[in-house]
Subunit: 191 residues, 2 copies
């Protein structure tokens, strides 16, 4: 049973506000792919827009350009090995969904393949074509058209990190396969 529930578009930026490493999903012409990306960020609250760096040499970039859409899935700590693995080989030569036994569901608006099991959240995005930024910085802009999160860790527009949801806590890549897990929560004075 999935614990995923819809996230309001006004809250979508919060899903990646704290800089987690994400999985970028894509499909076109009957083929799909998933890669890891440490470099993404929101750029606007309303309409919810994000930027993600997708190298121009990747199979994902081809699929995203061709389809005009991509998914941003936020893996939980239990998926750290999978995240590293899908970031370490190209989907040109292997179907990573099949290789790693990854199940996906189609996004509600664009049909982008999205992961739920083991993930904390996903954002379905429409590519905003920006040829110069894509070419010069491999930076792809997208508008979030749907979002959802596992209600055990994100509900009512807020993250809650607790001992009992450690497996869903976001991971943040330091480099070389080393990650930190979003753990101890801090609250700023006056907030």
């Amino acid at each position: 049973m999935s614990h995923f529930t819809e996230v309001k578009l006004a809250h979508a930026s919060r899903l990646i506000n704290h800089g987690p490493t994400v999985l970028v999903t894509s499909s076109h012409g009957g083929r799909g792919n998933v890669m890891a990306a440490a470099w993404s960020m929101p750029v606007e609250f309303t309409p919810p827009r994000i930027a993600v760096v997708i190298d121009k040499t990747t199979w994902t970039r081809e699929l995203v350009t061709a389809s005009g859409a991509f998914g941003i899935c936020v893996p939980g700590a239990a998926l750290v090995d999978l995240t590293h693995a899908v970031g370490s080989l190209s989907g040109r030569s292997v179907d990573k969904f099949e290789r790693f036994g990854i199940r996906t569901r189609p996004g509600p608006v664009l049909g982008v393949p999205l992961l739920e099991a083991g993930c904390a959240a996903w954002l379905e995005c429409r590519l905003i074509r920006e040829p110069h930024a894509e070419d010069a910085y491999d930076t792809c802009f997208g508008e979030v058209v749907a979002a959802a999160a596992d209600s055990r860790i994100f509900a009512g527009g807020h993250w809650t990190f607790r001992e009992d949801n450690a497996d869903l806590q976001t991971i943040h890549h330091l480099g070389g396969g080393h990650f930190v897990r979003a753990g101890g929560t801090l609250r700023a004075a006056g907030s």
Copy 2:
């Protein structure tokens, strides 16, 4: 005594690879400012380039545009209150360095004001003018021209998060003054 030591430019992206909330510093014509930014990311390893979202209505944006330079300082957990505070008021009406007793040092290449006390690292950046991305997405691109980190938490190109450096561990804004601290380290299989 400062524990800051130079970080090789080839390693600069690692300082923000894991998505910490940062402080953006700037100065022009004798006035300076510091603001908090949750939205930044590397976009290229070599030359080291980054992107950061700086709203066009901010005083920082004016200073960055006028000077063609900015600093990215990575606050440690001990600066969570300061980070929230400098993100909650405008430098147009108050000198935040003075108000909060913040000491800075000039960057080695461009003279950008940089914070060290309480911070884990800084990156001194030259603005790469991209009028369209700046206008459409408030996204400012920069090339890192110098970088340094506190050797108690980042040395030899690697982060080390330990119990004894918790105050320097990076913070990641969830929204509304709630942060997570980069804490538990995970290592992916095969890495």
